[in-house]
């Protein structure tokens, strides 16, 4: 058991025992789902299906159904891709980086944040796949011997690096998440009364029995996976930023992109975690485990990464002028004062100003304010990608080729559809999976639980 300073706020409120932790996490899974769950699930499903329908229409008709044109060959598709990948950065950061830093508050949120990550990366992966138009030849991105002589994929291309980065990130996150889930599934299995539930959770728990040797391996595997996933988190969004940074388009070919994208990704990912967790803790009665202190910690991460993003915006602006390159300066002047000024200033307001409000203790501990800001941040981060992508290319070198981008209803439907699908997945997760790493939380109960911290023996023993 680890020692902890007495003045540190307890991470688990109330007087919980090991059994209470199990009860609190398992009860929502075992009870009937509340009516609200069905309503939300229905809404998400309808929106998701509309998105799937739009994707099928796109595949049947061609990428021409998007609002792209000769000048703007990339718009909402890649914007949504980068947005979703960015959101998918919080989960693994919370579980991997915070594990290496031994941050115990991660244990209450890592499970749902990782689930969020995996579903977000699913959504992200959809966009490059459907962008191919001919989805059924999607396997051509793999270096597979073929009839073309063998013509290989181009390993010099950042787009191929993306293929490897995203597939590694998705599969490693999935494994990391599942390895942690196995013991918790075993808990549900051993409590289950209905035969079907017992059988299903029996299969999902892989026959986990909690032997000492298994726990010894479990801890090492978690640690090594965290060590592997930490550089992975940073590499993935760096590689996503290479899609732009290695090009020759003014506004894109910036060396600042990799760190700036990574910070932005963490920023938006934590915002999405806040949005989901603030609702989840209330709906599932987990207020004792995920409380103001957790929200405050996450808000501090949002503040720090938001400040990095803000600094990057201003650096970019300064360098575009300082470089003396006419094209580079124009790209940025056009962003701020051109026809897309509203997108630029929305981005600036949402991403630069709003996180600075978190310096105020009262605001960063206010759940309502946090919820509001978390949505503002994700709107801002969508605009960031839109601004980078569309405003950099819409004014081509020849004025005759200048253009504007207007999304078609398919653009909008697919984007909204992925949000629907994301919530379908997340709601299913919240209904059938343990949303809290319950067995891991038990390990910090004595060190960071309120009743143990307040007991008179707490200091004598340690």
């Amino acid at each position: 058991m680890q020692k902890e300073a007495a003045i540190r706020e307890p991470l688990i409120l109330g007087h919980k025992t090991y059994h209470d932790v199990t009860e609190d996490v398992c009860r929502p899974i075992e009870d009937k789902a509340p009516k609200m769950w069905y309503i939300l699930f229905g809404i998400a499903l309808v929106i998701g299906l509309y998105g799937v329908g739009s994707i099928l229409y796109l595949l049947g008709t061609g990428v021409g159904v998007w609002g792209l044109n000769k000048t703007i060959g990339w718009a909402w598709d890649i914007t949504n891709f980068v947005w979703w990948v960015g959101i998918g950065h919080a989960g693994t950061l919370i579980s991997a980086v915070l594990l290496l830093f031994r941050q115990k508050w991660r244990m209450a949120i890592n499970r749902s944040a990782e689930a969020m990550t995996i579903f977000a990366v699913f959504m992200a992966g959809t966009f490059p796949l459907i962008h191919m138009g001919r989805l059924w030849v999607g396997y051509w991105v793999m270096p597979i011997p073929n009839q073309f002589g063998s013509l290989w994929v181009n390993f010099n291309s950042p787009l191929l690096w993306d293929v490897f980065a995203i597939s590694t990130y998705l599969s490693v996150s999935l494994v990391f998440w599942y390895i942690g889930l196995i013991p918790d599934f075993a808990t549900i299995r051993d409590r289950a009364k209905k035969p079907l539930a017992k059988k299903m959770y029996g299969i999902l728990s892989f026959g986990w029995s909690g032997r000492a040797k298994h726990w010894n391996r479990f801890e090492l595997v978690s640690l090594v996976l965290a060590g592997l996933a930490t550089p992975l988190v940073f590499s993935v969004h760096s590689i996503v930023s290479f899609d732009f940074a290695t090009s020759v388009i003014p506004g894109w070919h910036t060396t600042i992109f990799p760190p700036y994208f990574v910070a932005g990704a963490v920023f938006s990912g934590f915002a999405m975690v806040q949005t989901l967790i603030l609702i989840m803790r209330k709906a599932m009665g987990l207020e004792a485990y995920i409380h103001t202190k957790h929200v405050e910690y996450m808000n501090i991460v949002i503040m720090v990464t938001g400040s990095i993003v803000g600094t990057a915006y201003i650096t970019e602006l300064f360098i575009s002028w300082y470089s003396g390159v006419e094209y580079e300066s124009y790209a940025f002047i056009n962003r701020a004062t051109g026809p897309y000024w509203w997108a630029y200033w929305s981005m600036m307001t949402c991403n630069v100003i709003s996180p600075q409000l978190m310096w105020i203790r009262r605001l960063r501990r206010s759940l309502l304010f946090t919820f509001f800001i978390s949505i503002v941040v994700n709107i801002g981060m969508w605009f960031e990608r839109y601004v980078i992508i569309v405003t950099s290319i819409h004014r081509d070198y020849i004025p005759a080729a200048w253009s504007m981008h207007f999304p078609s209803h398919i653009d909008i439907a697919i984007y909204i559809g992925t949000i629907g699908l994301f919530f379908v997945f997340f709601l299913l997760f919240a209904r059938y999976f343990p949303v809290l790493a319950l067995n891991e939380v038990k390990t910090i109960l004595k060190g960071s639980g309120q009743s143990y911290k307040e007991s008179p023996d707490y200091h004598k023993h340690h």
């Binding site: 075993a186 051993d190 026959g207 000492a212 996933a229 590499s235 038990k442 390990t443």
Partner: protein
């Protein structure tokens, strides 16, 4: 050969650890401990060696690194060298910078998946495997020590019972195994 197994249950990890310490000091061999979460410090007491999965992860990573290097050298330099904007394509070293991202990703992928698969196989935790914990409560809030009589020739069952009485426990369950 018939054997008798004692399942000694506790409701606290620290208490179990102390009891295990006392039993081991008296020369009792504890074959297994079942717990809902890892009990830190139990492994050396009951004589469990540290896992070598970390070494395996390193070896899997090395495999990934080698495969990625050999593969990309073959695809891009040997089999079908492409001239992209006059960038060097005649030697691996000249072109290596462009290969670093995928080399890294592939190394991580092999290390992570290799280790995870080995972990599941070594644990024999696979889809459809039956649960082996002696009591369903050991995945909730109970902690169980397993003591096999066949592994404890120096003490009789009665002596063991006496020791357990002295040390204390929550529940004691005995099972005959044929």
């Amino acid at each position: 050969m018939s054997d008798k197994v004692l399942y000694v249950m506790y409701d606290d990890d620290e208490v179990l650890k102390n009891s295990a310490k006392q039993l081991v000091a008296k020369g009792v061999k504890i074959s297994e401990v079942f717990s809902p979460f890892p009990i830190h410090g139990i492994d050396p007491i009951i004589g469990i060696k540290n896992t070598r999965l970390g070494i395996m992860a390193f070896l899997y990573g090395l495999t990934g690194l080698t495969l990625a290097t050999v593969g990309m050298r073959y695809f891009m330099i040997v089999d079908w060298p492409m001239n992209i904007g006059g960038k060097p394509n005649f030697s691996y070293l000249d072109n290596m910078l462009a290969f670093i991202p995928i080399t890294f990703e592939f190394t991580v992928m092999c290390a992570a998946h290799g280790m995870a698969i080995t972990y599941l196989l070594r644990n024999k935790t696979l889809p459809g495997m039956p649960a082996q914990n002696p009591d369903p409560r050991t995945t909730d809030d109970k902690f169980v020590m397993e003591i096999r009589l066949s592994e404890n020739n120096k003490v009789t069952e009665a002596e063991l019972d006496g020791m357990l009485q002295e040390i204390g426990y929550l529940e004691l369950d005995k099972k005959e195994i044929k």
